[in-house]
């Protein structure tokens, strides 16, 4: 129905309510989401050829069909320029329909999987959350590659959204901020941003894959693990690989990289090494990793090299929100569990692949608290918020405060739904924090990993909105929700609907 109405574009008399910018945004999102899933399916089909090739035909048919249909339908979607808030809707619907499309693929390719499981698995993959409910033990390479590569696609889309759409990221790294020309070499325009970020993803994945090949891993496993690391997805088909100390060390390096801002990495690739030492956010990030690893090492009480590297691995897996599963220390403490939850909540640097609150926002909040202390002593003082010597716009400060408010509210709401469904308070809080930060795994108070497969369907579905919101830095999902709410309300009130249509015609 939507598309048939779009075909009437150009005729101002027949423009209907459905032909609003919001519907254009939704339609574009659907097309982008479905075609992305299709293209990924084609690629997975080709990868499946290196194995038995049993799923290749299915992947190719699915991929080519969805891509072609999307490309054909794209002709009917208006090319109208959308506002930023409408692009948020496009991004959210794109993500959602990509997840939906992929879940059909899992449903058709994997035996004994219901739609709920397929949808959750797909959501976990695209939101780069380290949750899994499907047993991929007997699946072919194509399916496993699809599951792993969808993480990279989700992560890439999220970083791109942050660079292009999220105001705070732009301020942080110079986009659109007067007087900060020093970062314009990285993202001078959208196309360049896409190109540079793609390059960063490709180079880092390639380097990590090659490095992992030096260990006992074969090429396919190395590729899968590096895709999971760079995307902060955390999915692996064999968890035993993390017991190898050489793999651990390489992944530590990989996770440090993945939690680092793409701007810093780009500078490093451009041989501007000095800028690394100027990034106070990077210094905070590294300090947090070292502090957390030290505390875990002390609490682990073993004092061996393997314990030290394990401490770093667990700390990094949490703060970078990668979520690689590794067994807990023998003498796990409650404070270790809380520390990991804290790291997951904080998350890595802004404009990195990771989720969570992110360090730049945290630094703004710290500055807000210091300002409030100063204001208590000097009520009339005008105190500017500064992070790393740079003033932060008051609007952005407010957005961070709102972000914090919403972040906490989503954790609480998700945890409440989980507890109503029967999950314990600790596990519910841990699950909702991990879902919102797109991290994982969920650990109980003793440090043991709890599989999401032990959750009921309602509990899993309750986690999905948090995962999606967290991956898209809250704003796009909330704005979309706001639009859906207001449009539904308008639609249910005929008078408003007519007024809206008249306004659209004018």
């Amino acid at each position: 129905m939507i598309f048939s109405l779009y075909s009437k574009r150009g005729n101002s008399q027949s423009v209907s309510y459905v032909n609003s910018p919001i519907w254009i945004a939704v339609s574009r999102g659907i097309l982008v989401g479905v075609s992305s899933a299709g293209l990924l399916a084609v690629l997975s089909g080709l990868v499946d050829l290196t194995d038995s090739g049993s799923d290749t035909a299915f992947f190719l048919i699915f991929g080519i069909l969805t891509t072609l249909i999307s490309a054909y339908l794209a002709r009917y979607v208006s090319g109208k320029k959308l506002k930023r808030s409408e692009i948020f809707i496009e991004v959210t619907s794109g993500f959602f329909f990509c997840i939906l499309c992929s879940s059909f693929l899992y449903l058709l390719l994997i035996e004994k999987v219901n739609f709920g499981d397929a949808f959750f698995e797909s959501a976990a993959a695209f939101t780069t959350t380290s949750f899994t409910v499907i047993d991929f033990g007997i699946s072919g390479r194509g399916v496993i590659f699809y599951r792993t590569a969808s993480q990279l696609l989700g992560s890439f889309a999220a970083v791109l959204t942050a660079v292009i759409l999220i105001p705070i990221s732009q301020d942080n790294f110079g986009l659109g901020t007067p007087g900060r020309t020093d970062t314009k070499d990285v993202f001078p325009e959208k196309k360049k941003a896409v190109k540079n970020i793609s390059l960063i993803y490709m180079v880092s994945t390639l380097l990590l894959t090659l490095a992992l090949l030096v260990t006992e891993l074969d090429f396919f496993d190395s590729l899968l693990i590096s895709l999971s690391t760079i995307s902060t997805g955390g999915f692996v088909r064999n968890k035993d690989v993390f017991e190898s100390s050489s793999v651990q060390l390489l992944l530590i390096a990989g996770m440090i990289t993945t939690g680092t801002s793409v701007v810093v990495i780009w500078r490093l690739l451009s041989r501007k090494v000095n800028s690394l030492f100027r990034s106070s956010e990077l210094i905070t990030y590294l300090a947090l990793i070292m502090g957390a690893a030290f505390l875990l090492f002390v609490w682990a009480d073993k004092g061996t090299t393997s314990s030290l590297s394990k401490s770093f691995f667990i700390a990094l897996s949490s703060i970078s929100t990668t979520g690689f599963h590794i067994s807990a220390f023998d003498n796990w403490t409650v404070s270790a569990g809380f520390l990991l939850l804290l790291l997951v909540t904080i998350g890595p640097m802004s404009l990195s692949s990771g989720g969570g609150f992110q360090i730049y926002r945290l630094r703004i909040l710290l500055a807000v608290s210091v300002r409030e202390l100063i204001r208590q002593l000097h009520p009339r003082a005008v105190v500017k918020i500064k992070v790393a010597g740079e003033s932060v716009l008051e609007d952005r400060v407010r957005q961070v405060v709102v972000f914090q408010f919403i972040f906490t509210s989503i954790i609480f709401l998700t945890a409440t739904v989980l507890t109503i469904s029967g999950v314990g308070v600790y596990e519910a809080l841990s699950s909702s924090i991990n879902a919102l930060a797109t991290a994982g795994p969920i650990r109980n108070a003793d440090g043991m990993v709890i599989g999401v497969s032990s959750f009921s369907m309602t509990e899993r579905l309750a986690l999905v909105p948090a995962m999606l919101s967290g991956r898209l830095y809250l704003l796009p999902v909330l704005i979309s929700f706001g639009y859906v709410f207001s449009e539904t309300r308008n639609f249910l009130r005929p008078r408003r609907r007519i007024l809206h249509a008249i306004r659209s015609n004018n």
């Binding site: 506002k83 930023r84 808030s85 403490t333 409650v334 404070s335 569990g337 809380f338 520390l339 804290l342 909040l365 710290l366 807000v368 608290s369 300002r371 409030e372 202390l373 204001r375 208590q376 002593l377 000097h378 009520p379 400060v397 407010r398 957005q399 405060v401 709102v402 914090q404 408010f405 919403i406 906490t408 609480f412 945890a415 409440t416 507890t419 109503i420 029967g422 999950v423 314990g424 308070v425 600790y426 519910a428 108070a445 704003l475 909330l478 704005i479 706001g482 639009y483």
Partner: protein, 517 residues
């Protein structure tokens, strides 16, 4: 330190002196009560009274008012609360309330200090328990415990301001630094009158609640003791299982009504009494407060009912515990551990909702603790307006609360407060877990201490002792958080600014070469 007319010029010392005298009066009253209880603890309480009067008089007489800038105000308020809490341990130490086999003097002191701070901050967390029964204590020490809450509930500084006309305009700053919420509304032209009116309302409320308890079956002593506790939304009881001892719906209703009145902005009460204006229905904070409580009671009743409790029992326990926690009342109605009213044994969903009420607190300008409804409302309004302004970038959208536009500077103040509050919760929980408590106990304990709530979840439920949930260092951390929470963070954090500046100046003047040199 400046000395003029042979007196030390220090607002902190002057105010602390008179505050200590007030505490001495409280201990004096307890001494009188102990006479009616076969003189149990009489001499110890009498000695405490004498010492406190002596210390208070020395501090008061040897000092006079000094600076009244913000830093001095914070130092004065912070010092008053610290000294009063410390000296408040004297009766407990002399009576030996917390001495028991197997623990040394340091832990006895920590327990006494914990009970003293919990009392003055009207928190209601207790270190009494199975190992040390409340009911085995004498009436004198029990009424002293209740009086600490009552004095702290309205505020020791408000009490001081009401009897110190020399404070003049700086009195409002002092009350503001101590009072809960984002500012104090002057209800009389003079600050001293404002302070007196607050106390007048408070005393009347206490009398009414005590009368209610007495009429519905409590003995006179227990009615007065619980009246003092309910008006201050403290939560101390004279019985081991709190109101559960009476197992009476009417007594619970009186307590709930008392809590609700005490957790409402006192300015609204003052308007009703003074100007006969019933502004409750038009006050958006009050409406939200009642609305949230109603919703909470409804949801928790349904959840408990769904868990197999009868509807009547679910409604009774949900109402009592939601109101108790939302108003930071702190009484319990459980008949024992694991019984229907023991919310620590309720399903996880209800516990999480109760945790929300622990954080939320009551109205600003009341005796309740927590973050306060007003801050939440402004936070919500701000989030709503921020999201709307992203959707409509060209529109000028301001946060609104009720019919009023919320000032940007108020939003910033609240944002700062909430951020610091959150950080303190994280720090507190982290330290407590590192000291060996489990996460839910630590988290709820920190929230409870910061919000001056009383009970928490996990091992510190309504029928438990804080000795069971936290080690002695853990309890020490919690009592610091109670003080920080009672003074709404800033006075306690900034009380050291003035001494720091003074010491910095002293160091500088030492470094400066003398003119004669």
């Amino acid at each position: 330190m400046k000395i003029e007319n042979q007196k030390i010029v220090s607002t902190s010392m002057h105010m602390t002196g008179i505050a200590v005298i007030f505490v001495a009066v409280g201990v004096g009253l307890s001494t009188i009560v102990s006479i009616f209880d076969n003189r149990v603890d009489f001499f110890q309480l009498l000695l405490s009274t004498v010492i406190l009067i002596f210390v208070g008089s020395v501090l008061f007489k040897s000092s006079e008012l000094g600076g009244t800038d913000q830093a001095s105000i914070f130092t004065a308020v912070g010092t008053t609360w610290l000294v009063v809490s410390l000296l408040g341990t004297i009766p407990y130490l002399f009576v030996g309330t917390f001495s028991r086999a197997g623990i040394g003097l340091p832990e006895v002191f920590v327990d006494s200090l914990f009970e003293s701070v919990s009392g003055f901050t009207a928190t209601g967390s207790t270190v009494f328990g199975v190992h040390n029964s409340i009911q085995s204590q004498g009436s004198g020490i029990l009424i002293y415990r209740q009086l600490t809450q009552w004095m702290g509930g309205m505020g020791i500084v408000v009490l001081v301001v009401s009897v110190l006309p020399s404070l003049r305009a700086s009195g409002l700053g002092l009350i503001d630094a101590e009072a809960p919420g984002a500012g104090v509304e002057r209800i009389a032209p003079r600050v001293v009158e404002t302070a007196k009116k607050f106390w007048y309302i408070y005393v009347s409320l206490t009398v009414f609640i005590a009368l209610g308890f007495f009429l519905f079956g409590m003995g006179l002593f227990d009615a007065i003791a619980h009246g003092l506790s309910a008006a201050s939304t403290g939560g101390f009881s004279t019985k081991d299982i709190s109101l559960g001892y009476w197992n009476s719906i009417t007594i619970e209703i009186v307590a709930m009504a008392g809590f609700l009145i005490a957790a409402t902005n006192f300015t609204l009460h003052a308007r009703l009494i003074e100007r006969k204006r019933f502004d409750y229905a038009s006050d958006s904070e009050f409406k939200s407060f009642i609305g949230v409580i109603f919703l909470g009671v409804l949801v928790i009743t349904l959840l408990l009912n769904g868990e197999g409790f009868s509807f009547g029992s679910s409604l009774r326990n949900a109402s009592f515990n939601v109101i108790t926690l939302a108003t930071s009342g702190g009484f319990g109605n459980a008949l024992g551990s694991g019984e229907a009213g023991d919310f620590a044994s309720w399903p996880g969903s209800t516990q999480l909702l109760l945790l929300f009420f622990i954080v939320l607190g009551g109205c600003s300008g009341s005796t309740s603790g927590g973050v306060k409804i007003m801050r939440f409302r402004i936070g919500l309004a701000h989030a709503h307006s921020a999201l709307r302004s992203i959707m409509r970038p060209r529109a000028l959208i301001q946060a609104r609360m009720g019919n009023r536009t919320v000032n940007d500077s108020l939003v910033e103040r609240i944002a700062g407060f909430v951020v610091i509050y959150g950080m303190l919760v994280i720090i507190g929980t982290f330290i407590l877990t590192a000291l060996g408590s489990d996460l839910i106990t630590s988290l709820s304990g920190t929230f409870s201490a910061l919000g001056n709530m009383g009970p928490g979840l996990g091992e510190v439920g309504p029928t438990s002792s804080f000795v069971d949930g936290f080690s002695a260092p853990g309890r020490l951390v919690l009592l610091i958080f109670m003080l920080i929470g009672r003074l709404e963070i800033f006075p306690m954090l900034l009380m050291f600014v003035l001494p720091y500046r003074a010491s910095l100046q002293a160091v500088k003047s030492k470094k400066m070469p003398r003119e004669s040199d």
